[in-house]
Symmetry: C2
Subunit: 252 residues, 2 copies
DNA sequence: CGGGACTTTGAGCAAATTCAACCATTGTGG
DNA sequence: CCACAATGGTTGAATTTGCTCAAAGTCCCG
């Protein structure tokens, strides 16, 4: 990777040096999404220790963050934008296993290698932690470790919801669930939930829901025709009939 | 197979009292599946502390272990038999999110309530831990907490594998993956992987793979006809052509 | 043995996919 | 500034995979 010094490295990413002497340039204590993330369980001195090993990374849309099978050298915290996680079958079939937004944690794998790939959907900013150093730090910060466990447990619950979606819901129910779920998460981050921003492509949505782009497109128009949603320019959707879409989402 | 020194409670389960004075009757140190489970990171005195809050539970096949939405009062460790986890849609559609065997941990939810239901597939034995007491114990046993985090991280990886299965694999690939996966887990537990025991019904397999029983049955006969597997009496399968089935499983 | 649950097989159907064409938006070079 | 290629999205028609409904076959277990 690139040398430190906050220039633009060969692969186009910018970051702050890990040098603690200038860590105050990006103090975690001033982080405006901290209350969304795992860091919010830490007090000021603990946060300082975290700040000493973190570097901030900015990536443009479509840049790969990490690749399945690569050594899991870093963990990340998304601080802005949208990241997709995915796995591939040998013949290219793809399953997107999650979309991450500000506050979401990325890279938890106590294995040596990443079990999935991650790619920036929009321009994103990330906090990057060297895995070794973070693991060492965890021994001193049981609160953080507990929080990570809670985080993992929540992700497991979300994964189970995604399983029932993939295995048992119809296309219309899948799209509805997807929209309701994104809206709820946007709300939790304090971002507008209606109209809702859809930064990802139809293909991404299809690969997340186990459908094809054509089916995703047809289902959107169907929901539009039924006046459940309204498609707005700029990748926005209005959830016109919130009750109806929530009903569809839960498989009513 | 019954637990010693205890009565049968109202709901038909047998268990040892939590009374530590007789905990030595079921000492964790003599547990023959310990090396498979989260407990194996603990040394003798730590194990003793765990033994003081554990009770052993035996349930017959088809008995519900815990129910989605109920207060999450206990965590479990499966010590024998097979348990299925599942979620339901309002209209009864079911998704089985996992099968658990000896060594597998159950109930990790830092929420107040279980996010899914669990039911015994075969007769099962479980170690049961009161959640509050286990959580308190975790503060003193960082090794165990780390191990739980590692466990959760592995489960997340497995969940992502299941997502690509549900979203992107064909019926034949699903069945093949299922068999290969079960065989690998049986092997890890030191149980015979070929012929492989299938303790769960066709309906359970269908609800796990996002199929119908009919499709599961047809796919089994198809694999049988192609001489990839052999169906044996007593719910056993022989993986006749291991290479072929592994190829099918990975979507080759 | 006999009965009930589970499994397998069959025939027709339907939801979603595939293949193909068309439309909209955007960015580029003449 | 416009033409136009490129990308992504939408729509249509035909196909297919897996589902539904129905019936027959097996396997336990009493």
């Amino acid at each position: 990777m690139s040398a430190s010094g906050s220039g633009r490295s060969a692969d186009g990413e910018r970051r702050t040096p890990a040098d603690p002497s200038i860590a105050h340039i990006h103090p975690c204590s001033a982080c405006d999404i901290r209350q969304l993330s795992v860091c919010n369980v830490l007090d000021a001195p603990e946060l300082q220790r975290l700040a000493e090993i973190v570097s901030t990374v900015t990536l443009p849309a479509h840049r790969t963050v990490l690749h399945e099978g690569d050594p899991a050298d870093h963990l990340y915290n998304v601080t802005g934008g949208c990241v997709k996680l995915y796995k591939l079958l040998p013949d290219g079939r793809r399953q997107i296993t999650g979309f991450l937004f500000a506050g979401d944690f990325l890279g938890l794998a106590l294995e040596d290698r990443y079990a999935y790939s991650a790619e920036a959907v929009s321009d994103v900013t990330l906090c990057r932690f060297p895995r070794r150093r973070l693991e060492r730090l965890l021994d001193d910060l049981p609160k953080l470790e507990k929080r990570l466990l809670g985080n993992a447990s929540n992700e497991l619950a979300a994964a189970q919801d995604q399983m029932i979606l993939l295995g048992r819901k119809t296309a219309r129910e899948k799209i509805s669930s997807f929209l309701v779920n994104l809206a709820a998460r946007a709300e939790r981050r304090g971002q507008p939930a209606d109209p809702l921003a859809l930064p990802m492509s139809r293909t991404d949505i299809a690969d997340y829901l186990g459908l094809t782009t054509e089916t995703v497109s047809r289902t959107f128009t169907q929901l539009k025709t039924r006046r459940v949603i309204t498609l707005l320019p700029g990748g926005m959707v209005a959830l016109t009939d919130r009750l109806a879409i929530e009903d569809l989402a839960s498989g009513g």
